[in-house]
């Protein structure tokens, strides 16, 4: 093909986007050196004194940061498991519905929470689970004393996981449904003629048909072990539940931007970025090895 001389046009097309990404993604990465400095805002990154790994040593001594790492992984793993299983079960149930209109209406409705922000849903959830809110009124009818749901450290991680699964299950269902429509109908027909019941069809045709997709999603979710969901927790938590609800990202926000511990917050953030980068790379690699998945 006559594509000679196109390269310079290609570079020209890429130029504005790359300038944007360099200025707003790559340049901020150099700020990482703050983690290795005794940072002085007056002197800036170039004037501040380097102290090596001292901040990291200090970080590992703090009980606070250890607790935060634990909370992050604990909440994230529960979310990963919930977000894999609930959409799968929901997709299987929806797949059994043969009234197309009903199926489509249910789908449209369950996507909705995905598109609302955690600011909005945080406000709504805090209202619904409030001390005098509808959930407590409902419990009251069964003679249960009101519970201060979002003020209890022991309940907080479960409320966070539950509300996240509720918000995302509809959207996460999309991929499973696509995999389900990809199953050859002839397989169902053949099995039905052989006298398979609905349960046997599910077990021998449907589940094997979406196994690859389920494995792929499980492998890819590995990269999210350090992402417990900043937006959500930031909008739901309060000082009463810091002990069980504070995650790396919310802690970095408070330590860095509210308490101005720039070095410490940067160091914790850096640790998270590096570990997260390795985990995502690993998960993409495994996904490629096992299911031949490529991101582009």
């Amino acid at each position: 093909m006559r594509t000679k001389g196109f390269a310079k046009h290609y570079y020209l097309m890429l130029l504005p986007g790359f300038v944007w990404l360099i200025l707003f993604s790559l340049v901020p990465m150099f700020g990482i050196v703050i983690a290795f400095q005794n940072y002085n805002p007056g002197l800036g990154v170039f004037g501040s004194e380097f102290v090596g790994l001292e901040t990291f040593r200090y970080m590992f001594q703090l009980n606070d940061t250890m607790n935060v790492f634990f909370n992050t992984i604990y909440i994230a793993i529960m979310k990963i498991v919930g977000n894999l299983i609930v959409p799968l079960v929901f997709a299987l149930m929806l797949n059994e519905v043969r009234y197309m209109g009903l199926k489509r209406s249910i789908q449209t409705i369950v996507y909705l929470p995905h598109f609302l922000s955690w600011v909005i849903l945080g406000g709504v959830l805090l209202d619904i689970f409030a001390y005098g809110g509808p959930i407590n009124q409902l419990l009251g009818m069964f003679g249960i004393d009101p519970i201060l749901f979002f003020g209890r450290a022991d309940l907080f991680p479960f409320l966070v996981v539950g509300s996240d699964v509720w918000k995302e299950f509809g959207f996460n269902t999309i991929i499973y449904l696509a995999a389900l429509t990809g199953i050859n109908p002839a397989l169902y027909e053949a099995a039905s003629i052989d006298g398979a019941s609905r349960l046997r069809l599910l077990w021998h045709v449907t589940l094997p048909g979406i196994r690859t997709t389920a494995v792929l999603l499980a492998v890819l979710s590995l990269g999210n072990v350090l992402n417990a969901g900043f937006d959500q927790i930031f909008n739901l938590y309060n000082p009463l539940v810091y002990s069980s609800g504070d995650i790396i990202d919310t802690w970095v926000y408070r330590a860095g931007l509210l308490n101005l511990q720039y070095e410490l917050a940067t160091a914790v953030g850096l640790l998270k970025s590096v570990a997260g980068f390795m985990l995502i790379s690993l998960s993409y690699y495994l996904a490629y090895r096992f299911t031949n998945y490529r991101i582009f």
């Binding site: 504005p16 929901f90 249910i106 600011v119 970095v252």
Partner: protein, 296 residues
């Protein structure tokens, strides 16, 4: 598929449909409750008397809302942000996706550039370096901080979706245009873009929803309330608590003191744009998201 319908099979269908409908209802119930709360009287809301129907139906909170000039300022900032952010996304994404959808044979630098993009998506410097960079650029209190920082973080994902879409278009279309002597700009704007409505609609929806929902950058890059986008304004209003230590009683009182009907009205108004956009683009984003995640 299932021609012979036994009685038990029908029962299974009915139970299944009931479960699915109940689940779907939980997805709209919170919105319904917010609307009911916003239409109730202040005293009923404070007493926790509001359930699924408004108590002492009135429009007072919406009338009060009309006098809140900050609400409208913030609303307008969010609208500007969405237009600028989604507009920029709409221009830059196809512009970058087209050259990057070429093979190395046609475009030598392609792989290096692609991996640079992937790197900016998977790794970041963290919150503190980003904050200090934006401060150094002098973009504090500027809407461009919101548009450009958020955009840089979401654009690469959109580029990958678009590359995958471009690669699935029949190559004979481009070859025909090449034979006719078309250049790269002509091919992109006259061949690729008109054929890419599903993916362009998808990335536009994602970009619109992202910019509408994002609140954190509004919180950290805007030092004065008058520059807050809507979500940041609502976040400060509804769910923000004093980060100093707090007792259970204080927490209870805080939830009782706030003006819940007015807050509910603000939350409800903030939901409306998303409620209007997503059902129309549904068929596109389902296509777009499955394309991005499940590939043969």
């Amino acid at each position: 598929m299932f021609k012979s319908k036994t009685f038990s099979s029908k029962m299974v269908d009915i139970v299944l449909i009931i479960i699915l409908v109940v689940i779907a209802i939980t997805c709209i119930l919170p919105l319904w409750y917010t609307l009911a709360l916003s239409l109730s009287s202040k005293s009923a809301a404070a007493a926790g008397a509001v359930g699924l129907w408004p108590v002492d139906f009135n429009f007072n909170s919406y009338q009060q809302l009309l006098q809140d000039s900050q609400f409208f300022k913030s609303f307008w900032i969010s609208v500007q942000r969405v237009v600028l952010g989604a507009g920029l996304n709409f221009i830059i994404v196809p512009l970058m996706a087209y050259p990057l959808s070429k093979t190395v044979k046609d475009f030598k630098g392609r792989n290096v550039l692609m991996w640079t993009l992937i790197f900016t998506m998977l790794f970041n410097g963290g919150l503190i370096p980003l904050y200090l960079t934006i401060k150094a650029y002098g973009l504090m209190n500027s809407i461009w901080a919101l548009v450009l920082v958020g955009g840089a973080q979401t654009i690469v994902f959109n580029i990958i979706l678009t590359i995958n879409f471009f690669r699935n278009l029949p190559s004979s279309l481009e070859e025909a245009a090449l034979v006719d002597g078309a250049g790269p700009w002509y091919i992109l704007t006259k061949v690729f873009i008109p054929l890419s409505v599903p993916v362009l609609a998808t990335i536009s929806l994602f970009s619109i929803v992202y910019h509408w929902n994002e609140f954190l950058y509004g919180l950290i890059f805007m030092t004065r309330e008058e520059f807050y986008p809507l979500q940041t304004y609502i976040q400060q209003l509804v769910v923000s608590v004093d980060p100093s230590t707090m007792t259970e009683d204080q927490y209870k009182r805080l939830s009782e003191l706030s003006n819940r009907t007015l807050d509910a009205a603000k939350i409800f108004i903030a939901m409306i744009p998303v409620l209007l956009v997503y059902p129309f683009l549904q068929r596109y984003f389902i296509h777009g998201i499955t394309l991005g995640s499940v590939k043969e």
